[in-house]
């Protein structure tokens, strides 16, 4: 999907979030911009501490941000415009990583899924009918209405969490590692369900994950984050087949592939993600990058358009000559 041809549903521009601590300031988000069109899935990939979850909280209005705008279907909110003005929350649903901690153990499934509906005035039989409908959308029968979360398996709990997120018919669903706590066989069921739901309801997904295999299965476009910035973005197939940023390449190399013949190839990437408190000067990936030059250590590369809906933030992008 080309972002230029389809109007974007969610548009984030120049989002910044700084946390001030005793030891210094942490730039959790350092100018993040992206768009998601209706019915599209954008995957956000990166290692822990790169700002993925801060971004999700900002979009949900759970955290304030310091600069930039978040616009949902043209309805924009700007940082500090007004503390009380949150993003249009009805349009954004969320599914968290661990269903055991995101479902209230004292509530029945009916009240968990029905709670958002009560906010808009649904009561009694109408509420039960709607909840039954939502549960059937995620593949659960009406016998689950009176059960409690502990009576459900992890996969069923995650289905309930998805049903709750869909209750108010949001146009964007933020999925924060929804399958990381599940077994692979259950993960496959949930991924298939998410794909089927998107076809049926045309909801957009912002899929936060660190599993690149899942990205390839579910997403249309991918954005790779490193230390609060997007370092590469573009259509999934293009980015994975021909990564431009060395960090994307390193991430792809680190994914264990099920293929015994490809065993023990090269030494993995050295070092770890630096602390956001003492961010390296210049390109933040330069200390770990084997192609880094003096220019990388001195200046900060900007995210530049690269043609074909792709963009990268690197002075020495890989494989450019090959595809041109």
């Amino acid at each position: 999907m080309n972002p230029a041809s389809t109007p974007s549903l969610l548009s984030v521009a120049g989002l910044r979030k700084v946390y001030t601590t005793r030891n210094g300031t942490i730039k959790a988000l350092d100018g993040v911009s992206f768009d998601i069109a209706a019915g599209e899935t954008l995957a956000l990939v990166g290692e822990s501490g790169c700002g993925k979850s801060t971004l999700a909280s900002a979009l949900l209005g759970l955290a304030s941000f310091d600069a930039g705008t978040i616009a949902i279907d043209g309805d924009a909110i700007t940082a500090r415009s007004n503390w009380t003005k949150l993003p249009p929350r009805r349009d954004v649903g969320v599914v968290f990583q661990n269903p055991q901690s995101s479902l209230d153990p004292k509530m029945t499934i009916r009240s968990i899924v029905g709670e958002p509906l009560q906010m808009v005035g649904a009561r009694g039989d109408a509420l039960t009918r709607r909840v039954t409908g939502l549960l059937s959308q995620v593949g659960l029968g009406p016998e689950f209405l009176k059960r409690y979360p502990h009576q459900l398996s992890g996969g069923q709990q995650q289905r309930v969490a998805i049903a709750r997120a869909l209750a108010l018919e949001p146009r964007i669903l933020i999925l924060d590692e929804p399958t990381a706590a599940l077994d692979v066989s259950v993960q496959a069921q949930i991924l298939k369900l998410l794909k089927a739901l998107q076809v049926r309801t045309n909801v957009s997904y912002l899929f936060i994950t660190h599993d690149l295999g899942v990205v390839d299965y579910l997403a249309n476009r991918v954005a790779v984050m490193y230390l609060g910035r997007i370092v590469e973005s573009g259509p999934v197939a293009d980015v994975f087949a021909d990564p431009r940023h060395p960090y994307t390449q390193a991430l792809l190399d680190a994914v264990p592939v099920i293929d015994p013949s490809r065993r023990r190839q090269q030494a993995p990437l050295d070092g770890e993600v630096p602390s956001p408190i003492n961010r390296p000067s210049g390109c933040s990936f330069s200390p770990r990058c084997r192609w880094a030059t003096n220019a990388c250590r001195a200046h900060d590369p900007e995210l530049c358009e690269d043609g074909g809906g792709r963009a990268n933030a690197c002075f020495h992008p890989l494989n450019v000559g090959k595809s041109a």
């Binding site: 290692e47 692979v184 066989s185 069921q189 660190h210 599993d211 579910l218 991430l251 592939v257 770890e272």
Partner: protein, 329 residues
């Protein structure tokens, strides 16, 4: 010819209950040779971690352990606790899933390492310190001298996991049990830890029992693999044999459920249903209800072990037929 370090045969763990007892492990057989990395794969609740606990003699009471576990020729089951204590750490070492929870946050890394080394070897604290230092260097911790003085919260998850591997290896064990050591780590750090474990097995002849649910890691790291389902090993063999030519329907499906880069999206398989409750495992084949090749015999009798070349064993009634189909293709 490599020597067998860990030999497990007919291992069963049962927790007696008021009305019925729960069998977590129902007859496990495998062995790990020196320098070999065996991957133990399966979904949650299949008994992977219980197998590891049993190897260390750590099955919580009132669990009943039957069968035989021998480490370096010494029987673990039935051995008195005092002898097990000397065995743990010196002969067998274990690293756990969450590195942050395996260290005491109140003491420096150096203090904790020196304590362990002094406990198992008759050396002075000063000698222990230099041993700890060389162990940390062996796992390539940057600034090992400095790291000894640090508290666990000052180190990153990957560094702590490296330090724990160093600590586990400080008393020169013959067997390392790793229970999902990379699950809590990022992919780039995971790749570093995996290559470190491989190097230790190759260079020091360490036997490794690597417990994981990630078939990708197994195929990158292990020499052989055992797939567990509901307390039994359903398929076992060399990585090449099991991953490239799986014969048990569960292994086949498990391989199909993993989303892989570059594979067509519609190929993703999901296994219907859930892992059976260990207290209510059906008679016959435990995978029968989720299997699309199940026939009447699967519900009646426990499948026999079918042996194929290179010690590739499969626990399925239809394994021989599956093998013929694979060969004819």
């Amino acid at each position: 010819m490599s020597s067998t370090v860990l030999q497990v045969s007919g291992l069963g763990v049962t927790f007696p209950g008021l009305f019925r007892s729960t069998s977590i492990l129902r007859g496990i057989d495998f062995e790990v040779a020196a320098g070999e990395v065996l991957g133990l794969v399966g979904e949650s609740g299949c008994g992977k971690s219980m197998t590891a606990s049993a190897c260390l003699g750590l099955v919580p009471s009132p669990g009943l352990v039957t069968g035989s576990i021998s480490i370096d020729g010494q029987q673990v089951i039935g051995r008195p606790e005092s002898e097990l204590r000397t065995m743990r750490g010196s002969r067998v070492a274990m690293i756990f899933q969450n590195p942050m929870r395996s260290m005491n946050p109140f003491f420096t890394l150096g203090r904790q390492m020196i304590d362990v080394i002094c406990c198992h070897r008759s050396v002075s604290r000063l000698e222990a310190r230099s041993l700890a230092l060389s162990d940390l260097k062996a796992v390539r911790i940057p600034d090992a001298e400095l790291a000894l003085e640090k508290y666990p919260h000052q180190l990153s998850g990957g560094q702590i996991q490296r330090a724990l591997i160093a600590l586990a290896l400080s008393c020169r064990p013959r067997l390392l049990i790793a229970d999902e050591p990379t699950t809590a780590l990022d992919v780039t750090v995971q790749a570093q830890i995996v290559s470190l474990i491989r190097r230790l097995a190759d260079e020091k002849g360490l036997a490794v029992l690597f417990i994981t649910h990630d078939l990708g890691i197994v195929s990158q790291l292990c020499d052989s693999v055992a797939v567990m389902y509901a307390g039994r090993i359903v398929e076992k063999g060399s990585v090449e044999a099991v991953i490239d030519h799986p014969l048990h329907p569960y292994t086949k499906k498990l391989l199909g459920t993993v989303p892989t880069i570059g594979r067509k999206a519609h190929e993703l398989v999901s296994i219907p249903g859930n892992v059976p409750d260990p207290a209510l495992v059906p008679p016959g084949c435990a995978f029968r209800d989720r299997c699309d090749q199940a026939t009447d015999i699967c519900g009646e009798t426990q499948p026999p072990t079918s042996m194929f070349e290179q010690d590739h064993t499969v626990l399925c009634h239809h394994a021989v037929r599956a093998r013929q189909i694979t060969e004819s293709q």
